[in-house]
Symmetry: C2
Subunit: 113 residues, 2 copies
């Protein structure tokens, strides 16, 4: 399997597993996985209403595949998605911390993009 196809599967599994865990712990708010496999955009978004009547809406994770690399466009997790991708076997040079400017990216072990 080509690396990009492996990354596509890894990204979808990572977001699906997290959505399932969120849904189990809070059934009120929908944990939506949004997978655009044509444009290679992948998101986990929360949509719903809390018990107190407040609206809950927001993207937790947004990953893109671009030129064979995984771009982390947004990461609202505490643990950090980059480390989860590394733990899944993705080499750091194939991960771009898109939420950092390029000047900061080059100070890290991850790709500049």
């Amino acid at each position: 399997m080509e690396p990009v196809e492996q990354y596509r599967k890894a990204v979808q599994k990572l977001l699906s597993d997290r959505a399932e865990r969120s849904q189990r712990s809070n059934s009120q708010v929908e944990a939506q996985t949004i997978f655009d496999t044509e444009r290679d955009h992948y998101q986990l978004v929360y949509v719903g209403w809390r018990r107190n009547g407040d609206r809950d809406y927001g993207c937790l994770i947004h990953l893109d595949l671009k030129d064979g690399k995984i771009w982390i466009q947004y990461d609202g997790t505490e643990s950090g998605i980059a480390q989860e991708l590394v733990d899944l076997g993705v080499p750091k040079e194939d991960i771009v911390l898109g939420f950092h400017p390029p000047s900061v990216r080059k100070l890290t072990e991850f790709a500049v993009g």
Copy 2:
């Protein structure tokens, strides 16, 4: 063509047209259309960096198709996406203002969901 298939096309066209206009007026920030036609989630998201070095990230519009209706989950436009859908010929009873709680939705001419 089935109404749901028409809605799918209308929603994608509306978001694509707006993304194209945004991209023309600001080439620095990427206007991403994210279309998950399997789960029927549709988004327009801005991703990039401004000239002053600030990060620009956020969802402008999020629409879902559910039970034959178009749900507006998030609308960050000034003009209002509901009216644009009505102008495209979508009946109000097939549009759900998901960002309002059901108690408010039933006071409008739009669907409760």
